[in-house]
């Protein structure tokens, strides 16, 4: 299964379709995100998290791994539509210092233009 995605203004926007990103699906999600990058060769990526309400240490590791690989290629990963429970975990593990987060896909895509 491919993750839902669109390309807008040369930015790859990927949606996490499940309400969880944990040890049970983190590896598969990581593989699919990497496959989408390989297909489009677009290192500027927005990840829509509007459906995500639970993330664990394995899910966090997946996002860190992906953002590091994009930055090595001169790109970046911006997050959009983060829910309250996920934001609280990001703040707990100080991940908000690593990722820029925006209220919507549109805002995150726009931020790449600045």
């Amino acid at each position: 299964m491919t993750l839902p995605h669109i390309v807008t203004d040369q930015v790859l926007v990927i949606t996490i379709p499940e309400d969880k990103l944990d040890a049970s699906n983190a590896s598969n999600t990581k593989t699919q995100m990497a496959a989408l990058y390989t297909s489009y060769q677009l290192p500027r990526v927005v990840l829509n998290l509007e459906k995500l309400i639970f993330i664990d240490s394995a899910g966090i590791g997946t996002l860190i791994s992906f953002v590091k690989s994009l930055r090595e290629k001169g790109g970046d990963l911006k997050l959009a539509s983060m829910t309250k429970p996920v934001r609280s975990i990001f703040e707990l593990v100080r991940l908000h210092k690593l990722f820029e987060s925006y209220p919507s896909d549109k805002d995150a895509v726009q931020a790449f233009k600045i």
């Binding site: 969880k20 944990d22 040890a23 049970s24 639970f54 664990d56 240490s57 394995a58 966090i60 590791g61 860190i64 791994s65 590091k68 429970p85 609280s88 975990i89 707990l92 593990v93 100080r94 991940l95 210092k97 690593l98």
Partner: protein, 142 residues
């Protein structure tokens, strides 16, 4: 699952990744049944238990066929979460430092210690006994 006078509940889980969702659902259901309704509290209890379950699965030295039992108990000042397993692993009582944001691994224990107020590990002394990992989270003001 067993309910004892609505003060404690316990449930047995197989050591499988597919059980993680059931573990969280059990903690959420227990919090509700034990009259703990604050969403941030429930989410913290879910995540702490989830990470503890994962830690036992990965580092507990248990046979895959051996179950993990989780008990939720309402106490006067908060919620006790006890995880029982039969493995040969150990558990450091010292809170680890949260890894820097760009480090991919090693957050599980730090998350547990950040989310609950007390972490205690009692190692079994005989093969037939159970290890007990006890997490306690205080209730905030309602």
């Amino acid at each position: 699952m067993t309910i004892c006078e609505k003060k404690s509940m316990h449930c047995q889980f197989a050591q499988e990744l597919s059980e993680l969702e059931a573990v969280r659902a059990f903690v959420r259901f227990s919090c509700d049944a034990l009259q703990l309704h604050q969403e941030p509290f429930i989410h913290a209890a879910e995540l702490a238990t989830h990470e503890a379950f994962m830690n036992i699965m990965l580092h507990g030295g248990t046979l895959e066929s051996s179950p993990i039992i989780i008990e939720c108990e309402r106490q006067k000042e908060g919620l006790s979460l006890r995880l029982f397993d039969k493995g040969n692993g150990n558990f450091s009582p010292k809170a680890p430092v949260m890894p820097p944001p760009d480090v991919e691994r090693g957050r599980g224990l730090a998350i547990i210690f950040s989310l609950v107020d007390k972490v205690e590990f009692t190692q079994k002394s005989k093969m037939c006994e159970w290890n007990q990992l006890h997490l306690f989270k205080k209730c905030g003001p309602s």
